[in-house]
Amino acid sequence: MMKSIYLISVFVLIASCSSDRASKKGGGGSGGDVTKSDNPVILQPVQGDDAKKDDVDGQPISLLPEAGSHMRLMDARGLTVFYQNVFAKKKFGFMHCERNKPMVPADCTDSIFTRDERPAMGSFDLGTPRMNRSPSNVNPAANLTLNYTRTLRSALSRECNSLVDGELANLKANNIAANVLVKADKPSAADLDGFMKKLLGLSGTAVVLPIEAAGYVADFEKVKAAYKDGNAGTRNGFVGLCMALSMDPLVFIY
């Protein structure tokens, strides 16, 4: 059921990034829209959940801002500034240093991404080869797209799992004052709005964020209901929410 939450987050992501440009209908051909070969595999374009006006299934998924756009994906350095609003540094730094201590302390404390992940997140770093931080600039990523979102999800997975585990423990101990996401055993729209505002540095403002918090609350219930073990359902529901919200395009597209 974790997949459901991930799929929801991907849907939100794609829906937010897709252009309003009228697009060619996918699937090839017309009428029956059948792709033929010697060993025919029949492909049929269908309207799916991710369809919206002027957007149909069958089109390649692109997470790039439109060609010629003035929008960009934020790099690892910038993202960490936002993410440290909700993912607090531990004694050892961010979660990728939970087990391994690198030579350079800043690798733990300055980024939620490992040094190997940072190039995929668009960061340019001349590194320090002697201190085992060989740079990865020889073939810098020409475009970020899928590797970017995969890497982002990987890093957020570490941080969200840690965040939710810590905050659920606080909840059990009736000590939720410092919690940023888990305010009760199930989220409210206001809780999610508060989390998102904290992430974006907008706490205490009347700014309205377009994050469809009520929809996330409903999805949380669905995820939780799918688990026989209620605790596991709650945990995974919160982890999914954490990742979906943290991967909102409001955070990483600018």
Partner: protein
């Protein structure tokens, strides 16, 4: 009537006394401010600036103005330029400068060699009982331990020779046993184990505040070493370094990074400080970090021997004479009349292999052009003219490239990627480009920076920096010219152009950006 007057007065008072109702920026406005910040500095707004934006206490114009002259812009813009210049990994200054890493145990062999007679060993003891040594770092649980590299291995051999009179396989030579005993003493005094309680604490010159060579020692204040090594290396180990154990040589890693970033830092400061952008190719000054200066004043003294004039004008600057190994601040440093902006920095010279490469890299980077042959041009294998400016096909590029490369005739040709200036006056470095002739990188920088193509390319680079892509054909056709005109009118102040770009409506409200 009286009541109405009083009510009116009361309302007036309340209106005057009440705090003014302050508007709050909407999300679109905040996002625009974030976009300006991220584009210019690579980072979202600071909490303080975001608060000002939300309270509408700062305009987007003022925000762009403030951010485009700050240290985070300088770093972010420098990263962009370092990438544009083609820097893929840091320059290794050890490979370019003869840095003395101290004495080692070379020449002593295993005790069996014929040369190890009393005369040889007397001299060996004499040369090895004092002076700086090659360090090794032992990773002890409580902190790093500095020892003489190899002493541990030598102790076993010296003990055998001193106590048993035996080399590796045969007896030591006559009248040498006492000398072997002295060597054993030297080795023992310069070696320690993690458990050794006779060691002393030291804060070496490269880590004067706390241990930074490994994050596991993040809360460790000082190193340990033997009393003898402290005596031999001097206060703060000033005569020794970690060049032999480069895994831990954080100081030189940082110096390498600073040297690699020098051209880009120079460009960034010129922009952030409203200097004419053309000076990136003409200024005699450069930007050095404090630790870069410290390097040049201490273990990197020899580096200056290969500079033009074999020194720099600001050799007496405090970062060189009395600076700090951990000073990361930026300083303007005067170099001398043979320097030309980034073209004569060690990074640019080391990055480019040969004179043609130097000219070509400058041409591509600052004119946004590439040497190409006309479509359909064919090489002629039978044409072996050694003069590439005349050989079929090659001539298309080389008739321009060769005279450009001549500007660098006093810098190394292909095969030497070191920073070496040839001050020999008989070497002719007169070059030609764009119908103008002059001598040296200084002339090339001036000619290059005064071409129309330089101005256009400067705008295109600024656009790339802000948008992460090149200008589209439409943008080149419609937006480039007015920007170039404004750039020239502002005496090539690129910061103003960058400001104008981030405040443009199409930049702040791109299609699909409405939250």
């Amino acid at each position: 009537m009286m009541t109405k007057v009083l009510t009116g007065l009361l309302l007036s008072y309340l209106l005057l006394a009440a705090p003014p109702l302050r508007a709050e920026a909407d999300l679109a406005k905040i996002r625009q401010a974030e976009k300006i910040s991220i584009s210019l500095t690579g980072r979202p707004l600071s909490a303080e600036l975001r608060s000002k934006v939300i309270k509408e206490e700062i305009t987007l114009d003022a925000l762009a103005d403030q951010l485009s002259s700050g240290p985070e812009f300088i770093e972010h813009f420098a990263q962009y330029w370092t990438r544009v210049l083609g820097m893929q990994s840091p320059i290794d200054m050890y490979a370019h400068v003869g840095i003395n890493t101290g004495m080692n145990w070379g020449g002593i062999g295993n005790g069996d060699e014929d040369r190890l007679n009393a005369d040889y060993l007397t001299k060996y003891v004499e040369s090895h009982k004092t002076g700086p040594v090659e360090f090794a770092v032992a990773e002890c649980p409580d902190g790093p331990l500095l020892i003489w590299a190899g002493s541990n291995n030598q102790i076993a051999a010296f003990t055998k020779a001193a106590n048993d009179g035996m080399g590796y396989t045969k007896p030591i030579q006559a009248n040498t046993q006492a000398l072997w005993a002295q060597l054993l003493q030297i080795a023992k005094e310069t070696h320690a184990t993690c458990e050794d309680t006779s060691t002393v604490q030291v804060k070496p010159w490269w880590d004067p505040e706390k241990v930074t060579v490994h994050s596991r020692y993040d809360s460790t204040a000082s190193y340990r070493t033997t009393p003898k090594l402290l005596e031999r290396c001097g206060p703060a180990m000033i005569k020794c370094n970690l060049g032999n154990d480069r895994r831990f040589d954080r100081f030189m890693d940082e110096v390498d990074l600073d040297v690699s970033m020098e051209p880009a830092y120079l460009i960034s400061h010129i922009v952030a400080e409203n200097k004419p952008f053309s000076s990136i190719l003409t200024t005699q000054e450069t930007i050095m970090t404090g630790r870069y200066g410290y390097f040049l004043g201490n273990i990197g003294k020899d580096a200056l021997k290969t500079y033009p004039d074999q020194s720099i004008q600001d050799i007496g600057h405090q970062i060189i004479t009395s600076g700090s190994a951990v000073d990361a601040k930026h300083y303007w440093i005067k170099r001398g009349g043979l320097h030309a902006g980034i073209l004569t920095t060690p990074a640019f010279q080391i990055l480019t292999n040969g004179r043609r490469a130097k000219a070509n890299r400058a041409f591509e980077t600052f004119l946004c052009k590439k040497f190409t042959v006309p479509e359909g041009a064919q090489a002629d294998p039978s044409d072996a003219n050694p003069d590439l400016t005349k050989r079929t096909y090659c001539a298309y590029c080389h008739r321009t490239l060769e005279p450009m490369a001549a500007f660098f005739n006093k810098w190394p040709d292909v095969g030497t990627t070191k920073y070496i200036y040839n001050g020999n006056k008989t070497v002719n470095d007169t070059g030609r480009f764009n119908g103008l002739q002059g001598a040296g990188a200084v002339a090339f920088g001036k000619i290059l920076s005064e071409t129309d193509g330089f101005d256009e390319c400067s705008i295109k680079r600024a656009f790339e920096f802000l948008n992460g892509r090149k200008m589209s054909f439409y943008e080149s056709e419609n937006r480039l010219e007015p920007l170039v005109t404004a750039f020239r009118a502002s005496e090539k102040n690129l910061r103003l152009t960058i400001k104008a770009m981030v405040l443009a409506p199409e930049f702040l409200s791109p299609k699909g950006a409405t939250p």
